[in-house]
Amino acid sequence: MFKLLGAFCILGSCGYIGVRISSIYKKRTEIFRFLQNGLTLLETEISYCSTPLPLALERVGKKINKDCQPLFVRAAAVLKENKGVTAAEAWQAGVEALGHEVPLTKEEKELLFIFGHGLGGSAKEEQVKNIALTQKQLNVLEKAAEEEQARNQKMWQYLSFSIGAVIVLILI
């Protein structure tokens, strides 16, 4: 009786870990999609409304999906709180905050950092160009993340249950 209960516990926990890991892949794809949306919103704020950057970031942060929120909210907060901080530094802090939520590779972080360097330091047209370029690159990243998701999501689900079953078999 206890053996059976333990076996179910091991199977359940291993399966849960697998589902959690596979959900990270899904989250990454979504993050890149919503970041593109966020940049579109930011572009509107910059080019159409000419909103100051802290306010623009805050507004975008309010409108955007929950997973992407830390990036914009943190950047806006850093810009508002600290006097003398550049937009690039604030954006960098935002990217780091996003990195805590979702695992990002070094190249992906680098891409976002580079975008931050063009933020708030030039004319409107330049910034709009910068946003368009970053959106294109994010689109490429989204495609790659989607491919990765298709390959790895199923694998982790099957694998975690099988690992649980092997542990149960060895222990019984």
Binding site: K154, M155, Y158, S162, V166, L169, I170, I172
Partner: protein, 64 residues
């Protein structure tokens, strides 16, 4: 001789083949090879103990 062990080894064999297929489909051939090797090693460890028992019994038969 308990029959459980045979089922255990059979189960490990089946799960090892599942590992192999899943990892290969995910494009991770090197890991699938390692997983298969680990499965074989685990099964071998179980069998070796039984083999040692068998050898001891054979020795006992001939009073060695």
């Amino acid at each position: 001789m308990n029959i459980e062990l045979i089922f255990q080894i059979a189960g490990i064999g089946i799960l090892t083949s599942i590992f192999h297929i899943v990892l290969k489909q995910a494009g991770k051939e090197e890991y699938s090879f390692i997983a298969t090797l680990a499965g074989v090693a685990i099964a071998l460890i179980m069998v070796v103990q039984l083999l040692a028992e068998l050898l001891n019994q054979v020795k006992g038969v001939f009073f060695l």
